[in-house]
Symmetry: C2
Subunit: 188 residues, 2 copies
């Protein structure tokens, strides 16, 4: 059975997006520089890491806000896999190029159950900082994967906020590229 | 001329101490686990990194609170080098085993000037999160060295707080031990 993974590109001061995230600026003000490693300047290692992660993903669970600001940018599901959006809005399935968005109204555990079924033996990736926090504090995350960007953003959206109590991890991978440090941890 | 360095052991969620830091608990509640890599379970790499840093330090600039909570624990200056404490209190020099504490009343730039003179060609290390923030936002830090601990503390004292605007870094070293990931950055 696949793992539940939290995977983010994070600044050294813990931000995964800048301030004023909206549809035009899904990464917020100044947040685009976090993702340099995914674009033209990517190294072979960066590309390999991105491809590996994409291949692992069997389903996605994401917050409503991440869906709202990301959709126009992705023009598809964020990974080529069934994607489950946490929302209070009743809405029918939205088919995209690679897979479909399913809108889940009864909470994160239900979304994870549906994602588990869709993912088969592959992994489930959690997107959106507040969704990641919910799943982490519920004790349901098995792996944390970070691309640590060499920048202090100074302000924005923090990944590890409102966690409240300690969660022990074990480092399982460290790999440095010129643009980010790839870190992988198991949750103990 | 040596560099001005910010060097801390930090949890993955950005904390350098737990909550309720006091003289009995200089690392705060739950914060002691950050420093496992310095004690009995240290690997050869961890020991080498600690020795290397110690050899680089020609002077220390630290906040009053760090001095207050640390002194009883160190029973000396925090590194074996002249140490400059930022404080409003007028106080004469305090000689310790390895070096002396000098109390500086006229701000961080004055402390850095005095530390620079004392350090000669060696580096100046900044201790205390709020002092580090002051020196960072003043644009006076040249290197950030972190030992990233595989834990989410959930609460405590954040290193990179109140930074406010972006600071670009360049990764210059990544080295993994079982207990921490050693990261070094130049400030651009």
């Amino acid at each position: 059975m696949g793992k539940v993974i939290v995977s983010f590109t994070m600044s050294l001061d813990g931000f995964v997006a800048g301030t004023n995230v909206d549809r035009e600026h899904p990464m917020g003000e100044g947040g685009d520089r976090l993702h340099r490693w995914l674009f033209d300047t990517a190294s072979d290692l960066d590309k390999e890491m991105a491809t590996d992660m994409s291949a692992r993903v069997g389903a996605v669970v994401l917050g409503r806000r991440t869906f709202d600001v990301g959709l126009q940018h992705w023009e598809d599901t964020p990974y080529p896999a069934p994607s489950f959006v946490l929302t209070h809005e009743k809405r029918s399935q939205l088919k995209m190029k690679s897979a479909a968005f399913t809108f889940v109204n009864d909470g994160v555990r239900s979304a994870l159950r549906q994602a588990r079924q869709a993912a088969g033996s592959k992994d489930i990736v959690i997107m959106g900082a507040s969704t990641a926090q919910q799943v982490l504090t519920a004790g349901l995350v098995e792996e944390v994967t970070l691309q640590l960007a060499p920048i202090l953003l100074g302000k924005g959206c923090r990944l590890f906020d409102k966690i409240g109590s300690a969660i022990e991890l074990k480092s399982t991978q460290v790999a440095a590229s010129p643009l980010v440090t790839h870190l992988r941890f198991d949750v103990l």
